[in-house]
Amino acid sequence: MASVPAVLQSEWTKIRTVSSTRWTLISALAVTVAMGAALCALMNATFDDLPDAERLTFDPTLISFSGMVLGQLAMVVFGVLVVGTEYSSGMIRTSLAAVPQRGTFIFSKIAVAGLLALAVGMATSFLTFFIGQALLGEHRTTIGEENVLRAVVGGGIYMGLIAVFSMGVATMLRSSMLSLGILMPFFFLVSQILSAVPGAKDVARYFPDQAGAKIMQVVPNAMNSGESPYGPWGGLGIMLLWVAAALLGGFLVLRKRDA
């Protein structure tokens, strides 16, 4: 049996020695923070023009996380590339010859990459929160308010989970291009559009990103978003189920298919 600490160390070397790690994670942070800051500044300037319903349910915490809609896409790219380049480069055969235990191999890889994504996600979440609040002026909230810390920590967890979900999907599909071709439009278009369409909304709220994003809300029905059948932790739980399913699917494919 391969030694797990040794495999973890090997996977860490793999991640830190490719340049895609750096540029995807920096993009995730920079895009989220920049877009969040811009929207907070815009909200602050146009607050009085908002409809009454939105003003009454104004959620300054959630607004500061607006940039995640885009920033999460960089996390998707990071997650997909961590796994996908093993296949596109042919490295997978070399890797599995060194660590033939499929479970040890893939879960060590995902653990290392997932923890890194979580760390970057946490940093992104706190940074975008504080910068966003600073730009919201009199509409701001503070980290000490009820449920705010939960939302900010939750934002970090959300980003980490998006990356891990992408890794699971890439392991199932065994291709970077295919995985990106499915995940990017899904998170950026399909999920966003369906969640705004009446009727489709009831299904879309169970998508991993829609359910998971609930953890970043502090005000119930924030921004007049309507009642949802689950709370913030319930939403995160739904996202965790998606992640678990993707990981299980990936593991089964890796175990069954020829490398």
Partner: protein, 331 residues
């Protein structure tokens, strides 16, 4: 020692490897020979537990690959060159592998030196030529200082100096008592490196023999004769009790006779000779003959519309002819 028992692999309805059983013994270079598509690479991938066999087993020193603790220390393999991440340097690609099997970091620099890649150790491997990629693959095989080494078509993409180097490397590794298993589709290459020979065709075992036996059994020697008085010559040789074969390009081939005997025989009958030469069938021809029935992809001969397996009228293929034809033999 690697033992294969009834190893079989189906891809859908296609049988790639068909009940293959053989042993690869330590201390010698075992050549694994077969035409393209014979199932060599699939067999090697199954030996490394990369492909799942449909049935049958592979044992490495009595154990399944997955039971090996830190497999790179037991068995090193070069399957396809460039099975590395191109964005990572040669050094870092090897370092990842070394760390996974707790091989000391110092060994990375050592193997890079053995294969002559030290000057480009910090360069991204995607810029490597085919030959450099091959050397990097060989370095990864040597990384764990394993007792068993497997090379799939190692001379592919190497320049003559590289080919010479890999031949000597394999011989040196075998002399250290290691098990060397190397595949090729070129008999001539195997004749220079291998001590033992395993030949497969369409996934089936065709021969499992020592190189010396193979050469002895398969290198037919004969004398070639050419004469304007072909008929008379043939009758004379025939009357002398020798087996004579008339070939399509107007020469006679005589087995079991010396050039002296035949020259004197011709003089006796006052027959003019245009050619009298001793010939030796090449191992390549012997190999082609053995695998002729199981070649996966036949090249069409230059004559348009000619059927792939040449009939008896087809001229014997010369060396390097794009056709795998059985030599016409016997009368």
């Amino acid at each position: 020692m690697i033992e294969l028992e009834g190893l079989t692999k189906h891809f859908g309805s296609k049988v790639a490897v068909d009940h293959l059983s053989f042993k690869v013994r330590p201390g010698v270079v075992t050549g694994f020979l077969g035409p393209n598509g014979a199932g060599k690479s699939t067999t090697m991938r199954m030996m490394l537990d990369l492909d799942n066999p449909t049935s049958g087993t592979v044992r490495i020193d009595g154990r399944h690959y997955r039971e090996l603790e830190e497999p790179l220390k037991y068995i090193g393999a070069l399957l396809d060159a460039k099975a590395m991440h191109g964005g990572r340097s040669a050094y870092n690609n090897l370092l990842c592998l070394a760390q996974a099997n707790r091989i000391p970091r110092s060994r990375v620099a050592e193997v890079l030196d053995v294969v002559g890649l030290t000057p480009v150790a910090r360069k991204k491997s995607k810029g490597f030529s085919m030959g450099m990629g091959q050397r990097l693959g060989i370095a990864s095989a040597l990384l764990g200082d394993p007792e068993i080494l497997m090379f799939d078509e190692p001379v592919n993409g190497l320049d003559p100096e590289g080919i010479h180097w890999i031949r000597n490397l394999m011989k040196a590794l075998a002399q250290e008592g290691r098990t060397i298993f190397v595949s090729s589709h070129l008999m001539s290459e195997m004749a220079l490196t291998a001590d033992h020979l395993i030949v497969i065709g369409q996934g089936k075992l065709l021969a499992d023999t020592s190189m010396a036996d193979f050469i002895q059994q398969n290198s037919r020697s004969y004398v070639r004769l050419r004469s304007p008085q072909q008929e008379e010559l043939r009758d004379a040789v025939h009357r002398a009790g020798m087996t004579v074969v008339e070939t399509d390009n107007g020469t006679l081939e005589v087995d079991g006779a010396s050039t002296e005997q035949l020259g004197e025989l011709a003089a006796e009958h006052r027959i003019v000779l245009h050619e009298l030469s001793a010939q030796r069938a090449s191992l390549e021809e012997a190999f082609m003959q053995m695998t002729a029935g199981s070649v996966e992809y036949h090249a069409h001969s230059t004559g348009a519309g000619a059927p792939p397996p040449p009939g008896p009228e087809a001229p014997p293929s010369g060396h390097g002819a794009p056709q795998w034809a059985p030599r016409k033999e016997g009368a």
